[in-house]
């Protein structure tokens, strides 16, 4: 049940980020904020997810941070 709820929350975070980014087309300031917010939310979700799973370790946190940084830097430096 908790796992299902986690997946739904993740879906909401990602889909909301996607549509908010498109909604603020032509306003790079808001788009940048949406990207940071989506990345931040994904990071928080990952902390909760691994805490529930019982394997919240520094190496995992670093993996998430690097993936998020990778995605956000490419998107923001390409378009904004």
């Amino acid at each position: 049940m908790i796992k299902k709820l986690e997946n739904i929350i993740l879906g909401i975070i990602l889909i909301a980020g996607f549509f908010l980014y498109l909604y603020f087309d032509h306003n790079s300031h808001y788009q940048r904020n949406v990207i940071y917010l989506t990345g931040g939310s994904y990071f928080l979700w990952s902390l909760y997810h691994h805490y529930q799973k019982g394997d919240l370790h520094l190496s995992i946190i670093i993996e998430y941070l690097v993936i998020i940084f990778f995605a956000l830097i490419i998107l923001s430096s390409t378009f904004l």
């Binding site: 691994h50 690097v66 995605a71 490419i74």
Partner: protein
Amino acid sequence: MVKLVKLLFFPHEDNNHKAFLIQPGYIGLLIGIYLLNQSFIRTLTIARPGVLGYSSEITAQKVLDQTNARRQQAGLAPLKLNPILSQSATAKADNMFAENYWSHNSPSGKTPWDFFKGVHYQYSVAGENLAKDFYDTDSMMRAWMNSPTHKANIVNTKYQEIGIGVVNGVLRGVKTTLVVQHFGTPLVRAARVADDSTAIPAEEIAVATNDTPASEVVLSEVSAPAVTPGFMISPLQISQFVGLAMFVVIIATLVIDIMSSMKTKNHRLSSSSLSHIGFLAIILMLLLFTRQGNILY
């Protein structure tokens, strides 16, 4: 070599059961490569503006600020942004994309003054500056100020108002940004000023200025020198391609990772590849479906 490629993409005991490409160190390396590529593009477009044909940093507000800064340096009053003139400047840029030309006069015979008239802007004196293929506002303003005719428009004492159009599009098969400055002084205001100072009836001024001689109207255009005529690649396309390629490679490696762990049923301390795929897929879609936008003022 084959082994290295295998270790890059597939989990193996030699890479601690996790493909190198999805390990933090290697992703960091990809970030470094991407940033290096971005720096190279930026340097190239500033040093050789004609080589790559897309401007992503120019906004109307920056153009206005820098134009007025140049005027203030010359001891002149700043120009007032007139939304109507911005409409005519934007219409001019749109028309250049629509009719696919780079000139003050369109192939169908439209002159710059047709765009002023199109928005019902009655002027006593007017001018037009054009620019394309510049990456940033600083480079474009420098080029304008180095050109006597453009500089004459920017620091012209006769102008009181300005409109700016910054429009992205495809011109002659190349993605680019066109920047149009429309300068003007409204007819009524000019007539009133002249009336006050010289006691000449406004009607006479109006008649004289309605037939503004060509020499009083300044036209200027500048484009970054095209080193290679014909096909040009835009910096945005290069960045987008490199970014997309990296995303696809990482997502493919994550898919391989999931399939491999399902097959071997190995339990390891690792982040969730499936959630990474979801996150990266959303960002990938944004990379695919969005394009650079400019706010028009």
